[in-house]
Symmetry: D2
Subunit: 140 residues, 4 copies
Amino acid sequence: MDDSIKKRIIGSFATQSMMQTLGASLGEISPGLVRVQAPILPGLRQQQGFGHAGLTFTLGDTAAGYAALSLMAPEFDVLTAEIKINLLAPARGDLLIATGRVIKPGRRLMIVTAEVVARDGGTDTLIAILQGTMVPVPAG
Amino acid sequence: MDDSIKKRIIGSFATQSMMQTLGASLGEISPGLVRVQAPILPGLRQQQGFGHAGLTFTLGDTAAGYAALSLMAPEFDVLTAEIKINLLAPARGDLLIATGRVIKPGRRLMIVTAEVVARDGGTDTLIAILQGTMVPVPAG
Amino acid sequence: MDDSIKKRIIGSFATQSMMQTLGASLGEISPGLVRVQAPILPGLRQQQGFGHAGLTFTLGDTAAGYAALSLMAPEFDVLTAEIKINLLAPARGDLLIATGRVIKPGRRLMIVTAEVVARDGGTDTLIAILQGTMVPVPAG
Amino acid sequence: MDDSIKKRIIGSFATQSMMQTLGASLGEISPGLVRVQAPILPGLRQQQGFGHAGLTFTLGDTAAGYAALSLMAPEFDVLTAEIKINLLAPARGDLLIATGRVIKPGRRLMIVTAEVVARDGGTDTLIAILQGTMVPVPAG
């Protein structure tokens, strides 16, 4: 993989203040696959004490977006056009790990999926799947 | 509208630490319709400086969830089963306002929608629409 | 509304053999709003004798697609990029009527919704809502 | 796999008149995975002569529904609560093959996905992915 793409993703991630607020960090970056992980911080809970669906969504959406960016030419940035999440289990444990994948790249539309697992001790539980569309936009 | 339902929603909202992190507050609460609003805090931005899609999603999902809760018997709490968001415009301005609505209530499934507008000066721009399913679960 | 747009939609509809198979016909055509209706033919049922979800989907998707086409320049045709359906009630009755609407037009993406009602005697029941994205493509 | 489940699925499929209209047939039936295939009949085309999105949707939805049914107790039938389709390429070729999979079984909700490929000569092209929710209902 071109090292400049990895640098672009790392640089873009660093400019998203939301990622710092979530305590999120980048994991694996490969062509068409990116991982993003975060603990379930005390300030990101829902009414039952589990991680908020908005946290799970944001990690999945971000991983999917950077998976799309990993396959784009350098003059483009990426925006989410639409994405759907099915929540399978509560976000409970030490760490949430989102894996974004490009299913079909394209010049106008990139079709992506993501899955999010919650790591609790040594056990990973699939807590959400996402399916969406990313669009390339001219980089600012 | 039964005042105890309004109290339940206000109480549940207060226990979601995510809502404090987003600086979110409850607006109108009617049977089958709930509004949630938040400024676009500096820590909730994406790489271009706009509000993060995860912020827009979280407000829409929360408004839709409480719209569902507003029609549920007191022994139930609400969880998001699935929800889809189409993003229409950047989240830019002073305030995001999400309006959740119940399209079809049900004992097992509540079908909901939400729309999110960004208020910039005196102008409201529709920035996202959501469509999803909430499920009643026994209250903890 | 420009009469040539109405003609384009009527002409395009006539070339979709699927519409004949479903016994579907066009109703109202306005800028950004199109209706499509069909009876529930005996050959379009699911295992319990109701109209198949695929019938409901096809009518909703078609109405939404033509709503998008009604706002496009003549050199473009329309394709569905993605669409989501929530099914609310069985497709039962004399006629299904789908109403497609453009929520946000755009040169690259058109955000649309549709709702489908089942007319049974004098009563209309909302049986499905759809939310999706149409894309303009150069006309063949 | 319990042979009675296979029989239930084959029996249910036979009662869906829509499946005959589409010329569809069942392929592999395993616990949590079902395949459904159909040619692109002349009466199931869209305006450009490709298979209609409604055909692709119906095959994917049906495969996903029977994948869910393959994991249900015999006193239950299955209904689609919601499903989303992303269309990746035109439905062109000799045969469409939809593979439905259960991602997470549950007593109240079954989370499913499906993918649809178009076989053209010896080449399979992925033309659609679906993600949805099936619900068990008491069998009629």
